[in-house]
């Protein structure tokens, strides 16, 4: 199996879906000749032409709204938001429209579409090129929120997203675009949207993460192994709807839970996972449910010392897990 980067897997998924279904098209800023500022659509304009790769005006709300209209007509749009930080102008179309269309029309109208957006910090992007936005969407019934952490999952989940009859928020950990490599089969396969994945079985503690933090979680787990702490790592992958079963089964086994994300702590996605565990696995718990997350400041600062201070990293994860394992 060829090894490739996360961004290459994303490009390949889009390439294959464009080839498979003439209803699939891509729009967004600079997705055409430029091939996307992160090169997620590189080469596709030459291959599929200007009717399949459409450079949009610089207006995110209309990128999503136009995508919704096209989806209503029967197309399968993939919408690229250049940075997750710039998804906010589109929140009305996403939350008021895409998420509610099926429900409000009693199932008469549906909007199959994928909104791709690079998210996350640690890349010198400062306040507005580093944000994590998953919590905004993992509270909105009608949306599905997907965050792949490996090239294999990225390709398989993106292909599943394109074929899903619902609006999908597909967030890509951009720090991992070129950093994360892995084996990816040629051609056809999908990874189902929904199930989380136990990426490292363990008995002492459950570590829940996604995106770049999932890699850091694995690194932390490896470090703790040498200290005799056996950590189970769960890659949540689909954040919404939540895969409660996998989460609860893991905690029932380990009796300890640590949730990690780089987004701000308060009101972040981890709160929901902690709340589920505190309710439904209460009697299984041997220790408090812990969260390790970005601090409650607006976003990741630019200057390196401050960026480092903000970011969760393998050392911080290992420290939090160690403390919890010893609780």
């Amino acid at each position: 199996m060829p090894e490739m980067t996360l961004i290459e897997a994303i490009r390949q998924a889009q390439d294959e879906e464009l080839a498979r279904d003439p209803n699939v098209f891509i729009t967004g800023e600079d997705v055409g000749v430029r091939g996307g500022v992160f090169r997620a659509t590189m080469g596709l304009y030459d291959k599929y032409g200007p009717n399949r790769l459409i450079d949009s005006p610089l207006a995110e709300d209309s990128i999503v709204g136009v995508g919704i209209g096209a989806a209503l007509y029967g197309m399968r749009p993939i919408l690229e938001i250049q940075f997750a930080d710039f998804i906010h102008p589109a929140l009305n179309q996403i939350i008021s429209e895409a998420a509610k269309m099926c429900y409000r029309s009693n199932g008469e109208w549906t909007v199959p579409l994928v909104i791709r957006a690079p998210y996350g910090g640690g890349i010198g992007g400062g306040l507005y090129h580093s944000q994590s936005v998953e919590a905004l969407f993992a509270h909105v019934p009608g949306l599905k929120v997907v965050i792949p952490s490996t090239p294999y999952d990225a390709k398989g989940l993106l292909k599943a997203a394109v074929r899903d009859p619902n609006p999908i928020i597909f967030l890509e950990p951009k720090k991992g675009y070129r950093l994360i490599k892995g084996e990816v089969p040629e051609g056809e396969y999908v990874v189902p949207i929904g199930p989380a994945r136990i990426s490292r079985p363990g008995r002492d503690l459950s570590l829940f993460a996604y995106g770049m933090m999932h890699h850091y979680a694995l690194q932390a787990a490896q470090k703790l192994e040498s200290e005799g702490i056996d950590v189970e790592v769960v890659d949540l992958r689909t954040l919404y709807p939540v895969d409660k079963e996998t989460i609860l089964n893991s905690v029932r086994k380990t009796s300890r839970a640590l949730i990690v994300h780089e987004d701000n702590l308060t009101g972040g996605y981890g709160a929901e996972i902690a709340a589920i565990i505190a309710d439904e696995a209460f009697t299984d718990l041997d220790a408090p449910v812990r969260r390790l997350a970005g601090p409650d400041v607006p976003a990741v600062p630019f200057s390196h010392p401050m960026q480092d201070w903000f970011m969760v990293n393998p050392e911080k994860i290992a420290a939090a897990a160690r403390k919890l394992a010893q609780w």
Partner: protein, 327 residues
């Protein structure tokens, strides 16, 4: 091409049906049988004129809440409308999920809209894009109030249509008020049609109380769009004769004299006079038509009242689509 005598009578019949149904809704409200009504009185000519300019059932429509006459012209039945007013299970817009007059009629290609104004304009642009990408022989017509053209979403929608020369007809029903706010507090131009020049597409202003003038103007725009010449903005000017909705008290912001004055340009009076002039509708023929319409409405009221409410638990679905219903 001007409408045939039969079509003209059809148009008038629909206007009268819309008016009588609307009046009946106000009565139901006064009787305490419904909780909310938002009226299209005064808007009938603009809506019926526009509806007859498209290929109803084949072309697409993204309407807004004042479009009772338009929806009737697209084939919604009085009973369906009335069931919507009452939140009955089988009303076609939303199965009782949305407030009354939040339209959807799948069989007529009339797309579900929400309350946040101007979102439907962007969907129209997207439908227009899909029509163009597929090379279909269709257009999409979308309506909105003049106040709502203040939304950036409206601008973004029209801009997409202008840049990509999409087959979209943007109709602005300028009834001079957005709830209490007069049009001159919304825009510094005389007419919403003037906004088109800033976006690089034609803008037409037409008397929205004259059904045949509206029909002609929209027909030209539709022909243009179908011929591949892109979108048009059309302002149909009229006056909102009723309060904004049954929740509004318009005496707080406008005089009774102003309202009475404007009732003189009632689109129904104008159309009836025209048909009378042309020898198409005598006094007695009118009486017969009106009697018939009223009887059919009473029949529909009975039907709607007898129709079942949804069970509470039906509200659990459909949050997600199992499959896309359309091609």
């Amino acid at each position: 091409m001007d409408p045939s005598p039969d079509q003209k009578l059809d148009m008038y019949r629909l206007m009268l049906l819309a008016r009588r149904l609307d009046e009946r809704a106000w009565v139901l409200h006064r009787q305490g049988k419904i909780a909310f009504h938002i009226s299209g009185i005064g808007h009938e000519a603009a809506q019926v004129g526009a509806a007859f300019a498209i290929r109803r059932g084949s072309d697409w429509v993204t309407p807004y809440y004042r479009d009772l006459a338009l929806m009737l012209a697209l084939g919604m039945t009085p009973a369906e409308f009335l069931m919507g007013l009452m939140g009955k299970r089988d009303e076609p817009n939303s199965g009782g999920r949305q407030m009354p007059s939040h339209w959807s009629l799948r069989r007529a290609n009339a797309v579900s809209h929400s309350a946040p104004v101007a979102t439907q304009s962007v969907h129209a642009a997207g439908i227009g894009l899909a029509i163009k990408l597929r090379g279909d022989d269709k257009v999409v017509l979308t309506t909105i109030g003049e106040g709502s053209t203040s939304q950036g979403e409206w601008y973004e929608a029209v801009n997409w249509a202008a840049v990509h020369r999409l087959p979209v007809i943007f109709i602005v029903q300028n009834n001079q008020y957005a709830i209490s706010v007069r049009a001159e507090k919304q825009m510094a131009v005389q007419s919403a049609a003037d906004k088109a020049c800033g976006l690089g597409l034609p803008g037409i202003m037409v008397d929205g109380t004259d059904v045949f003038a509206v029909h002609r103007a929209v027909k030209d725009a539709v022909d243009n769009a179908r011929a591949g010449n892109g979108a048009t903005v059309i302002e149909t000017r009229m006056y909102r004769i009723t309060p904004h909705s049954s929740d509004d008290d318009d005496r707080t912001y406008r005089s009774r004299e102003e309202v009475e004055e404007n009732k003189r340009r009632d689109p129904l009076l104008l159309a009836r006079a025209r048909l009378q002039e042309e020898g198409l509708l005598s006094e007695s023929q009118y009486d017969e038509m009106d009697t018939q319409i009223k009887a059919s409405i009473e029949e529909a009221v009975k039907q709607a009242e007898a129709a079942p409410y949804p069970a509470g638990e039906e509200a659990l679905h459909p949050v997600y689509a199992e499959e896309v219903r359309h091609a």
